[in-house]
């Protein structure tokens, strides 16, 4: 019997390959940011060997698509994001990298006051087909300036779509929809997943605004965002061993949010736990809980529970960081609360 060799890839591989495809399929796609080629042209690197960003996600692009479409920019996020919005408004489909979402503060105006509302302000005359790739998440001891999530901050602003894929396969499968979209899409890549190998799955078509039910169940609805989907599935396995059947829903895009899928699940299970590593106050998770409570109050058999880190910056050292980041045991405890 032949042994089947399981193909494995990382989030880095998946996104790199998705960007290759986008550049190959669309002449109007450019890639822009700090070190997108990186080192190209120096004697120590040829074009193909350039570093491709601090996480090497764009490695190899410049060799295939050239300097005109894979553009190194100064470390100046306000100009970068302003230019990205301007280029998108003038007919390109830029894919730009905001190295860490923690750097959002250095480029918020072009996003908040310009790009996200250009279509609205221009009465529909301008489109801004822009993908902002960015990284997020605790777990690498990267400290308070390189570990945040902040998609909730962006979700507060009208006009921005936000995609937070839970794993490398989903990232690969939803990227094309982000590039094809005619609005600003923030694409969140979890830093801890970049080097983690997972089995390659058959490609599927994922769309923004369509949640993915990662596990079906009847006793409790677990909604988990991005990197929290993994721990939620672990928790569900443990709960199954104790006779509790959890449904795990991954919204994939938090804007637009597939509230219908969440509501329909909660109407069956009567119990809701939302797991999110973003700052808890005024967050996506709180928004989901509030909307479900308003829409399905009579179907709830217990008060929903929010599994979140404390409302503090992400700390550095391993003891403090693991105390900060929620994990499967916290989720199991939360389910115990809604079942009590």
């Amino acid at each position: 019997m032949n042994k089947v060799r399981v193909q494995r890839h990382t989030l880095r591989d998946a996104v790199n390959s998705a960007i290759h495809t986008a550049l190959a399929q669309h002449d109007d796609v450019i890639v822009m940011g700090e070190d997108m080629a990186g080192g190209a042209g120096m004697s120590s690197y040829d074009e193909t060997g350039s570093i491709g960003g601090v996480f090497a996600v764009t490695q190899g692009l410049v060799g295939r698509f050239g300097r005109g479409r894979v553009i190194d920019t100064p470390l100046a996020e306000t100009a970068l994001m302003g230019a990205a919005v301007g280029a998108a408004a003038c007919g390109l489909r830029p894919i730009v990298e905001l190295m860490f979402i923690d750097f959002l503060g250095t480029c918020l105006d072009p996003i908040m006051n310009q790009g996200s509302r250009l279509r609205y302000m221009s009465n529909g005359a301008t489109r801004v087909p822009l993908v902002v790739r960015t990284t997020y998440g605790a777990g690498l001891a990267a400290g308070p300036h390189h570990s945040g999530s902040y998609y909730g901050m962006l979700a507060h602003l009208p006009g921005i779509k936000i995609v937070v894929p839970a794993n490398a396969n989903d990232a690969r499968d939803v990227f094309a929809a982000c590039v094809d979209d005619d609005d600003i899409v923030f694409f969140f890549e979890n830093t801890a997943m970049y080097s983690k190998k997972v089995a390659v799955t058959e490609p599927r078509t994922l769309r923004l605004g369509e949640a993915d039910v990662k596990r079906s169940g009847t006793d409790v609805t677990l909604v988990a965002v991005g990197a929290m989907v993994g721990p939620a599935l672990e928790a569900a396995e443990e709960l199954a061993g104790r006779g509790t059947d959890a449904e795990v829903i991954d919204p994939i895009s938090v804007v637009p949010l597939d509230l219908a899928t969440i509501l329909s699940s909660v109407r069956r299970t009567g119990r809701l736990v939302v797991v999110d590593e973003d700052n808890p106050h005024c967050s996506i998770a709180q928004d989901i809980i509030s909307r479900v409570t308003s829409e399905a109050f009579r179907d709830l058999r217990a008060a929903p529970v929010h599994v979140a880190p404390p409302h503090v910056p992400v700390p550095y050292g391993p003891v403090l960081e693991s105390a900060y980041l929620p994990g499967a045991p916290d989720i199991v405890a939360a389910v115990d609360r809604v079942l009590a």
């Binding site: 390109l92 009465n123 006009g159 597939d258």
Partner: protein, 324 residues
């Protein structure tokens, strides 16, 4: 390289400047009457800058403008009636009554927006220029800004960005001597703003912002450099703002003695030159009547236009309707 010069006759530049002047006077009147809501900042006194720079631009060239932007929109070719209706908040306005003074957008005429956020235009103009380069259109982008915006980090980032990526951007600083009510010397470490270009390795030039011919010539050269060499330019046009920062600002502050633009009206500067060249008074009367009639028609159009349907409030957030 040969220096391109502008070729538009001064009579035409004068006619355009007069349109900006009469339009803004009408806006001031309508605002004082309470017919135009919100905040408004008038372009009175600075007309030669917008008209001189835009003279060298094509409809497909992009401009970014400011909170004081009606003049830029008019000079770039937007319809005065649609702008006025927008200021009135009507459905027939340039953006359907949802933008107003500081949010005029007209992509068909290369207007990437007036803007309520100071210094936000430089980055957008870099993007427009990058799109032009990538798509091989040979278009250029102009970022208009006031002297106040030169203090802002976003402007410095954009200038460096344009220079290092070799983007066809012209940064036009309209130095009217005030950042809101703060005089130039109190807000800028160096008052010769054109000199900042040197720090970014681009050409910087100061021009008399009250002389439309001078502005048009300098702009033509910068636009030519942008189209042929992909090189950015910083133009500092020294000018004067006749009204306060906003309508309602009593302007209890004055320009320092010796401000070159003070007391020199761009219409007078051009008018005197044209009279010397033999343009007769009948022509001036004819142009005045024509422009006044056009502005009066714009006001009448705005006043008589319908309000937008209230259901439009949620339109155009996203390309397609999506759950939020």
């Amino acid at each position: 390289m040969s220096v391109p010069t502008h070729t538009t006759p001064e009579t035409e530049l004068y006619r355009r400047m007069l349109l900006l002047r009469r339009f803004e006077e009408a806006v001031g009147t309508s605002f004082a009457r309470g017919e135009i809501p919100g905040f408004t900042h008038l372009y009175l006194g600075q007309e030669a800058v917008a008209v001189g720079v835009c003279d060298g631009l094509r409809p497909t060239d992009q401009i970014t403008s400011t909170h004081r932007g009606h003049g830029h929109a008019l000079a770039k070719g937007s319809d005065p009636a649609a702008i006025m209706a927008e200021l009135y908040g009507r459905a027939t306005g340039l953006v359907g009554g949802r933008g107003g003074s500081m949010h005029l957008y007209d992509p068909a005429n290369g207007l990437m927006g007036t803007n309520g956020i100071v210094a936000s235009g430089g980055g957008l103009a870099c993007g427009a220029a990058l799109a032009a380069v990538t798509r091989g259109t040979n278009d250029v982008a102009v970022a208009f800004m006031g002297d106040g915006a030169t203090d802002h980090g976003a402007t410095h980032e954009a200038m460096n960005f344009a220079a290092v990526l070799r983007l066809p951007v012209i940064f036009v600083v309209e130095n009217n001597g005030f950042s809101e009510a703060t005089p130039l010397a109190a807000h800028a470490s160096r008052v010769d703003l054109a000199s900042r270009a040197e720090a970014y390795g681009m050409v910087g030039v100061q021009v008399d912002g009250q002389d439309v011919q001078a502005v048009a010539a300098v702009a033509a050269e910068a636009i030519g450099r942008a189209r042929s060499e992909r090189a950015p330019t910083l133009i500092e046009a020294v000018t004067v703002r006749y009204h306060g920062h906003f309508e309602g600002d009593q302007m209890d502050y004055t320009l320092p003695a010796g401000w070159g633009a003070a007391g020199r009206d761009p219409l007078d500067v051009s008018g005197a030159r044209m009279r010397e060249e033999g343009v007769d008074e009948a022509w001036f009367h004819e142009v005045a009547s024509e422009v006044e009639a056009r502005v009066a028609a714009a006001v009448e159009f705005a006043r008589s236009s319908a309000w937008p349907d209230a259901t439009a409030v949620t339109d155009h957030l996203f390309a397609t309707e999506v759950p939020r």
